[in-house]
Amino acid sequence: MDFDLSEEQRLLKDSVERLVADKYDFESRKRYGAEPKGYSDGLWAQYAELGILGLPFAEEDGGFGGGAVDTMIVMEALGRALVLEPYLATVVLGGGALRRAGSAAQKQKIIPQIAEGSLKLALAHAEPQARYNLANVAATAKRDGDGWVLNGTKSGVLHGDSADLLVVSARVSGDQTAENGVALFLVPADAKGLARRGYATQDGLRAADIDLANVRVGADALLGGEDDGLAVVRRVYDDAIAATSAEAVGAMQRALELTVEYIKTRNQFGQAIGNFQALQHQAVDMFTALEQARSMAMYATMMAQEGDANERARAMAATRVQVGRSGRVVGKNGVQLHGGVGVTIEFAIGHYFKRLTMIDAMFGDADHHLGILSDLGGLLPAA
């Protein structure tokens, strides 16, 4: 056991943190959000330059061979600044599916483009009826000669509106909620029959609902096997849980800092409100929540590499519970300690609160995962 970062990891951490510190203050973020895509393509190019877009991919595929800890480092730094760019969508979600299921040819074609920043991905898996049940896939893929025809509706596809290439899950066989029979396909965003409705999300990022009406793709669009797409999606979602947990930790850390700064300077009744013990203890509760979440983000990072799906599922559910709950404590207390200005759009704290809330809603909220964990028997054996 060793909590120290390697030399490379420390360098990575420093450089990403420096980039967002230089380029991603609150006012800049507003400007990026107002750009046509809802984020900054200029920053995206700088991420490429920094090497973080190709980070988790194998070197032989054109990536940089980073591991889960590297992703954790990047996501935490991006979380601090509430970064708007589609890092999660492209590198962790879409890229993750490619990395875990793609053929050598597929990877070697696409990954260099991701790494250089010229291609963005999204993972189009969730459907309106599925809620948080990953197995609920109604979209269909039917063989059509050499290729496939896809039909169905995907919803809440993160950064699906500006992605160039979509990883789409569709059912090849089996009932709507069967564990087997789901396949993944690489579908160009401009494919005929594919319609996207893009919208802002509550946290100022973007998503899209996507309709597939007889979308034809070739045989080489199939990503992985015809039957095991869902296993890939589960694995990628687990990666995403680890990644967004780190992002949430970065956001919580910054939210705490902003709050402490604020109550140190805001005066009421002739003194800084940070002198009031009841407010101090609320800030301490934020700190405790943050550190407990940080611990679980590390745990998830470690467990994302666990091969046993059941063990991994317990760990990820546990992480979501802690990170979700901590996020609420940090978000709510942060706003409350800011008082009136905390509920205005002009202060950063509210944006942290919103992002933390949406991270919780994204892959199943804390209580949902508490149910999963308890149904899996919790973390410890009875004895």
Partner: protein, 398 residues
């Protein structure tokens, strides 16, 4: 002691309910149930409907349009109003400025303003808070200097709810800068059309425009618009804030939300099992219902106690604020949980170029904005921390 409603009280409840059933436009009810705000026009129209019925300002003296109902009937009326759900009478008119004018205003002020308030001919807003004065209201800095038959007002107010609609604003202004903070304050009525007033919107985190900043730059206010005596404004403000307490529990509104959540949670969506079949969700809701029932009883006790206290606010009523806001906030949070991933899309004014319509239903799309927005209820009207300080000092003697 008899804690059940009398037959007469039950009949009264039926009468109120029947009136709302016919008089309240269905689309207005639906809008409120979906979690939307009502427009100014809708608010005005509804208030006039109430006024025609004689129910515009039930708690005012009969002379000025009140109904003469006892506290229990007033309570039932409010409950039914919030439960309908119907728009509540504009608090700035009915519960804040109106009672102050009734208690402390001149005869001319009463005759001129009160009927217009009751009919919502004038829309009022409140000019108390300032950027530097949050919970510490007495530190306000906006000045009113006497100049002939007028006051000249300079300064800035903030958190001014719906000032964008307002015809008038009632303000606390400093008329004696040399006196102790609470002593040099006066209560002034200002026409929003007076030159020198600028209203600037404050956008809240969910993207809504409910509150504003109001700037006063050499605004001349006729001296006859002073309420009561100069430099006594702090007393009037305390009277006003005391009146605010009972309504703040918003038990009726929370009951409506509980019923609504139950309905939505009982529906199977897309063939999935209804959320209410999830024991965790069901028990969480039941736990709030318990708190809410307890709060309702607590509120009734405070109402019953009002006669004994003769107008002084019951310090125990701080509980109403604390528990009432906690319950409201938890209910908005449960709506987000109910919406699940469908809470994600931000759809401020329906679709525009950058925001195409998302597939989620209306109630799900408003769930997160309401959750965000409702953080305010534990902050405004004296934050919950301030309420705890009040109980600590005034009830527990700490």
């Amino acid at each position: 002691m008899d804690l059940s409603f009398t037959l007469e009280e039950q009949a009264f409840r039926e009468e109120v309910r029947a009136f709302f059933r016919t008089a309240l436009p269905e689309q207005l009810r639906a809008k409120l149930r979906a979690g939307h705000h009502v427009s100014k026009e809708e608010q005005v129209e509804w208030q006039r409907t109430l006024n025609k019925k004689g129910w515009a300002v039930p708690h005012w003296p009969v002379e000025w349009g009140g109904t003469g109902w006892d506290p229990v009937r007033q309570y039932i009326f409010r409950e039914e109003l919030m439960g309908a759900p119907a728009p509540e009478p504009l608090a700035f008119n009915a519960s804040m400025c109106g009672p102050v004018i009734i208690q402390f205003g001149s005869e001319e002020q009463k005759k001129h303003f009160l009927p217009r308030m009751a009919n919502l001919d004038d829309w009022w807003c409140q000019g108390f808070s300032e950027p530097g004065s949050g919970s510490d209201l007495a530190s306000l800095k906006t000045t009113a200097r006497r100049d002939g038959d007028a006051y000249v007002v300079n300064g800035q107010k903030t958190w001014t709810t719906l000032a964008q609609h307002a015809d008038w604003i009632f303000c606390l202004v400093r008329t004696d800068p040399s006196a102790k903070p609470q002593r040099g304050i006066s209560f002034l009525l200002i026409d929003m059309k007076t030159p020198g007033i600028t209203v600037r919107p404050i956008i809240t985190i969910e993207g809504g425009h409910e509150v504003n900043e109001v700037f006063f730059d050499d605004v001349r206010v006729p001296a006859e618009n002073l309420v009561g005596e100069e430099n006594r404004g702090w007393d009037y403000a305390k009277f006003l804030l005391g009146n605010e307490r009972v309504g703040i529990a918003r038990v009726g509104a929370s009951k409506e939300r509980v019923r609504r959540i139950k309905l939505l949670a009982s529906e199977s969506r897309h063939g999935n099992p209804p959320m209410i079949e999830n024991a965790r969700f069901r028990e969480k809701l039941a736990a709030i219902e318990v708190e809410l029932k307890a709060l309702e009883m607590t509120q009734m006790r405070v109402v019953a106690n009002m006669a004994t206290l003769e107008g002084k606010p019951d310090p125990a009523s701080s509980i109403l604020k604390i528990k009432g806001s906690e319950i409201q906030q938890t209910l908005t949070e449960m709506m987000v949980e109910l919406a699940g991933p469908e809470a994600l899309a931000y759809q401020p004014h329906g679709a525009d170029g950058r925001n195409e319509p998302a597939a989620a239903p209306e109630w799900a799309l408003t769930s997160a904005p309401n959750f965000f927005n409702y953080r305010k209820v534990s902050i405004y009207g004296g934050s919950n921390e301030i309420q705890k300080n009040i109980i600590s000092k005034q009830v527990l003697g700490l």
